[in-house]
Symmetry: D2
Subunit: 345 residues, 4 copies
C-alpha cells in the first residue's frame, strides 16, 4: 500500500547512502569534530552568506528544539508558540521538561503575528507571571502554510523591539523556500531570526538536523548543552556526511522543490474535483476535507493520516509528499482518485 503519510517514510537520498558506503573503513574523530562536519558547515554558511553563524548537527527534531531553547532561556523565561506549534503539542512536554512554560494565544491558525503576541506580553507584566523571552515559529507551519519574507520581517521587527528572541523551526525549510510567494532566501535569515533549525530528517537525510546560532552570546558553550541533553552523537560525522551531500550543490533545495511540486499535483487534482481544504497550503502537506466514503475508498489503496473531523460526514486528512515521491505514483493516485470520486456520484 503506497503511503502519503509523511515525508520521513523512506531511507535517505541515494547520494547520501552511496557516500556512506563509499567511505568504507575511513576513520573519523568523534562528536562532530571532523572534516565532514566542517565541510557541511562551510556549505551552509556559504548559503546563509554569514561567516559568523555557528552551526551544530543534532540527531532529531524534538531534541534540537529542547536543546536550543533550554540553552538560551533563563529558568523563569517562557517561549511563545502558536497553538499548533510542534513544541506546544507534538513533543510530549519536552520543553516543559526543561523547565520552561510554552505560552500560546487562545486560538490561532498556525501562524503567529505581532497582534497575537502583544496581548501575551501585556498579560505577563511582572514576577507573578513567567517572562516571555522567545518566539517559536515553524516555516512551513504544521498546517502547511508559510510565513512570507514580508511577514517574517514584521515579526522579526516586533521581536527585536520587544526583546524577544526569534527561533525558526525549519524542519521542512526548503518546502517553504520552494514557494514563490514566500520570497525567502537562505541569506535573509541572518537578519530575520536568532536561531534557525534546518531540518534534515524530513528532507532526505537518514536522520539529523542542523542548528544555526547567529548571535555570539547565544553560541557560548552550546556543545555543553548538546552533551548535557544527550544530543551529541558519538559518530558525529554521520550527520556531517549527510549535510555535506545535501548542501554541496543545492540538493537540499531541489528535494524541497520536488516534494512541493508533487503535493501541488495532488492539490490541483483534488481541487478540480471540488474538494475543499483546511488551509491553502502551497507546500508538501495538503489537508483536503474528504467525504467519509471517499476517504474509505482511498484508504483501501493508500496510507494517509487523519487530521481533524469538521463534521460527521467529512474528515480532514493529511497527504504528505517527500523528496522520494515519484511523479508516476502521484499520477497513479490521481487516476485512482478520479475513479473513486466518480464511483460515488
Amino acid at each position: 500500500m503506497y503511503s502519503f503519510k509523511n515525508d520521513y517514510s523512506e531511507n535517505a537520498h541515494p547520494s547520501i547512502l552511496n557516500q556512506l558506503v563509499a567511505m568504507g573503513l575511513e576513520q573519523n574523530n568523534g562528536y562532530g569534530i571532523d572534516i565532514h562536519c566542517e565541510n557541511a558547515k562551510s556549505f551552509i554558511r556559504r548559503d546563509l552568506q554569514c561567516e559568523e553563524a555557528e552551526i551544530h548537527f543534532l540527531p532529531g527534531g524534538t531534541i534540537t528544539n529542547l536543546t536550543a531553547i533550554s540553552h538560551v532561556l533563563k529558568p523563569y523565561e517562557a517561549i511563545i508558540s502558536s497553538t499548533t506549534g510542534h513544541i506546544n503539542i507534538h513533543e510530549c512536554g519536552a520543553i516543559e521538561a526543561t523547565g520552561h512554560k510554552v505560552l500560546t494565544p487562545p486560538y490561532d491558525d498556525g501562524k503567529l503575528t505581532p497582534e497575537l503576541i502583544a496581548p501575551i506580553l501585556e498579560a505577563h507584566e511582572d514576577e507573578f507571571f513567567v517572562h516571555p523571552a522567545m518566539v517559536y515559529i515553524s516555516n512551513p507551519t504544521e498546517v502547511g502554510t508559510i510565513y512570507t519574507k514580508r511577514e517574517l520581517e514584521a515579526l522579526s521587527s516586533y521581536c527585536k523591539a520587544n526583546n524577544l528572541l526569534l527561533f525558526l523551526d525549519g524542519a521542512r525549510l526548503p518546502m517553504a523556500l520552494a514557494v514563490p510567494e514566500c520570497n525567502l532566501e537562505m541569506k535573509d535569515f541572518q537578519n530575520l531570526v536568532d536561531i534557525l533549525f534546518i531540518g534534515g530528517t524530513k528532507v532526505g537525510a537518514l536522520f539529523g538536523e542542523a542548528l544555526v546560532l547567529f548571535k555570539k552570546d547565544l553560541q557560548q558553550r552550546f556543545r555543553f548543552s548538546m552533551k548535557h541533553r544527550g544530543a551529541m552523537l558519538a559518530k558525529g560525522w554521520l550527520l556531517g556526511v549527510q549535510f555535506e551531500q545535501l548542501f554541496m550543490d543545492g540538493l537540499y533545495y531541489e528535494l524541497g522543490r520536488h516534494a512541493v511540486k508533487m503535493a501541488l499535483l495532488l492539490k490541483d487534482a483534488m481541487s478540480e474535483a471540488g474538494i475543499s481544504f483546511l488551509t491553502d497550503s502551497k507546500t508538501n502537506q495538503q489537508f483536503p476535507i474528504l467525504p467519509n466514503k471517499l476517504k474509505a475508498l482511498i484508504e483501501e489503496k493508500y496510507c494517509i493520516s487523519d487530521w481533524s473531523k469538521p463534521d460527521e460526514n467529512h474528515t480532514c486528512v493529511r497527504f504528505c509528499t517527500s523528496w522520494a515521491t515519484k511523479e508516476e505514483d502521484v499520477q497513479t493516485f490521481i487516476k485512482d482518485f478520479k475513479t473513486m470520486y466518480s464511483s460515488l456520484r
Copy 2:
C-alpha cells in the same frame, strides 16, 4: 594516521550499510512502530530468553541513560555509580539535568560492590538526604575491567535485598561477554538486572542503542519518556534495521569477540616488552602506562587517547580496538611498537 582512539571511528558494519542500500525506497511507519524494529526485538528477546522483556531503540548512549533513569526514579531519588561511571563524569551532568543526584563512593577502581554501596545507604537515612534507589554499573567498565557472573549475582542479590534497582550499561556489552572468565550469557540478565542497555554505537552500528526493561512496572509508558526527552527517532526503523542485522545471526557477539581479540594482541605485545597497565583489562580497551618518549614516538604514527598522568615521566593512555580493527593493522602496530621501543633503549 591509524587511529586506536575509540571503537566508534568507522561507519557501520557492511551488512548494515548494504541492507540500508538494498531497501531502496521501501516505505516504513515512523517512530519505531515497524517490521524491522519488531524483528530486531524478537531476535534480542530470543537471546535473552525472556518473552516479557520490553525493548526500545534510542539514538545514543547519554540519551539512553538519562531517559531510562529519569523514567524510573522519583524526583527525590538518587542513583549510585562508580566514580568513573559514564553517567558520573562523562555526560556533562545529564542525569542531574533530569533532577537526580549521582552518588559515588569516595574512591573506587571502576567497579561497585556491596561493600562500597553499604556506607552510602547508611549515610542516607532520612529526608535530609536523597534516597538512593538505583545502582548503575557498566560492563565492561570504563576502565576495561568486567563484572563476572558471580560478582553480578552478589551485587544483584544485595540490590534486591536493599530495594535498589540495578541498571547495567552495556555500551560495550559483547566485549564483556567475550571474556571467558566473565561467564555471562544473555539469558542470565533477566535474573540479574532490572534494566539492560545493549550498545550499538560501539559495536558496529551507525548509531543507536537498545534498552531492555525487564519489569512490568518499569515498562509503563516508556515511549512517553522517550518522546519527552527527545529520544524517539522519526525514522525509527533505521535503528530496527541495524539491530536486525546485528542480532539475526549472532553478528553482535562476533564483533565483540573480534574487538577483544585485537586488543589482547596489543596487550600481549606491550606486556611482553614490560609495559605495565592501569588495569588488567581483558576487553577491547587497554590502558598501558607508557614512558613519555615512547608515547611521543607512537603518536607520530597512531592516534591514541590520554587517560591519566601517574608520574612525570609516564602517561597512561587508552588503546581501543573495534569491530573494524583489522588484524593486519594491529600487526603493523606491534612491529612499529617493537622498533620504537628498541630505539629508546
Copy 3:
C-alpha cells in the same frame, strides 16, 4: 489609606500571636516533628473525619502546589487547570519548572467541568502528547465563584472514571465552606479529592498552608519531596502552632465566615447602586465593574486592585476582605461610596 487589596495585608489573628509570645523559650524539635504539629494534625483529621489522611505543613501557596504536584506526577504527565488557575498564570511557571505542562481549555470562566476536560483528554491520545494525569481546581476560584458539593461530585466521578487525580487548592477554603449554596463540609473531601490544600496565609495565619494527602500511595516519602523542594521549615512547629490555634475550636471556619460576611456587605451596597460585577461571587473577593471616575474617587481613600478593562470607561477591580476586616471600616466605606457615587450624577 485603608486597603481592600487582599486578604493577607495584616499579621496573624491575635490568638496565634499571643500563643507564640506565651511560648517563651519553649524548646521544640525541628522540621515539623513536634507536639504542636501533631495537635494541629489531629484537629484537622478530626474535622475531615478521616484518620488515614496524612497532613503536612508548608510555608506558602506556590511551594505547596509545586511540591504536591511534582511529588505525584511522572515526568511526562501533565496537569489540567482552568485558564485562570493560580498554577497556570500566577506562579511564574513554578509547575513547569518541575517539568510538567499545565493544560487548559482555550477559554473558561474559572471553573473546570467534565465537558471542558473531555476534549483535552481526547486530544492527548498517545506519546506525542503529554499524558494528563491530574486536575487542579481552586475552591473558591480565583474569580470568587465556588464549586458546589454537587459540582464537585460530578467532577470527582469524572476524574475517577478517567484515571485523573483531583487536587483542590483551598487557599481560601473556609470562604467557600461559608457559602450556604456550596453545601460542602470538611468530611466530604475524603471522598471527593485526592489532595487537599487547606490555606493558612489568607485565613489569619502569619504564613503557612496545610496539605492533606488522602491516598496511601500518594503519601509515600512526601517529606523527601518537601526537603528536596525547600519546603521544609527548620522551626516547623511555627506552622503547627498556627494551625493548632486555627483548628482547635473552629476559629478557621469562623474567620472564613467573617471575611465573606464583610464582602457581601460591600457587594450589596454596590449592587444597590446599580454596579454590575464580573462574576456573581458569594465569597470574600468581589469584582465590581466601576466607571473610571468613580474608581478614581474611591482610590483617593482606599487601596483596591485592578483586575481587567472591559471597556474604555470602566474598570473591573477587586475588593478583598479578610478575617481582619472590621465591620466599622466596611460601613465607613459604604458611606463614602454612596457619597462618591452621588457626586458623579
Copy 4:
C-alpha cells in the same frame, strides 16, 4: 529535658515577637514590597557599606540556596562544594533538582581551598564534563570551623582568576564574625564574595534568610526566580520586620556573640576534663568525642545530636548553643557534666 540539639529550638527573640504584636492590624503590601523590608535592607546595606547590593528575603535555608544557585547558573554549569557542604548532603538533592551537579573533592575537612578546587577544574576541561562555575562555602562551616578573612581573600582571588562565582552560605554568619581570629567584618564581603546568604532562622528569627547579590548581572530579575521556585512569601513584610529588628541596632551580631560565648563555656569545661573534639571549633557548634557511657549519662538529662562514630567506645556528638541559651543553663550543664564525668572514673 534541656536541648543543646540545635540553634533553632526556640521561637524568635522577644524584640521580634513584641514588634509583631505591636503592629496590631497594620496593613502592608504583599510580596516584600513594603516599608519594613525597605528598612531592613537599608540597615543591612549600611552594615555592608555597599549601596549597590540587592537584598531579598526568603523563608528558609534550602530554598535560599536552590533559588540563588539556579538563578545564576546555566543549565550545564556545576557548583563546587565541600563534601560536608549543606547543599551537598543535607538538602535531599535540592540543587540537583534544579538541574545542577554538585562537585566535591574526594575528601576534605569541611573547608575548600584553591588546592582542593584546582584538580576539579583540571578534570573538567571540555563538554563531556559539567562546567564548574561557582564555589559554595559555609562560614562557619557545618563542622564549626571558620574561614578567616585571609583564607577568604585567597579563595576569592582564586575564584576571580578562574571565573568562578563565590557563594557564601552564612546561615550562622554572626557566629563566624564573633570569632576574633576570623577578622571579618560585614563591609569586607562586597570584595570577597558574589552572593552572601545572611541567615535569620539560626540567629533569633522565627524564620527567614536574607540574600545579598553584589553584582548587577546577578541581580537581574531575581524576584522572578523567587516566585518561580516558591520562595516569595505573600506576607513578605514578616521577614522585613524580623531583619529590621535584627539589624537596626546590631542585635544580630550580639546574638551571634552570645551563642558563641555559651558554646565556648561548654568547650572549655569539656576540654579541661580531657575530652577531645572532632574539630577545633570556635563557634556555637562543638563536636566533642565522648566515651559512650558518658554520652548515655548526659542524654538522660540533655538532648544532643549524634554526629559520627570514630570507634566502638566513643561517639562524636554535637552541642549547639543559640541566641536563647541562658548562661545559667550552661552552668547547670557544666556542673552536671563534671559530676557525671567523675562518676565514671
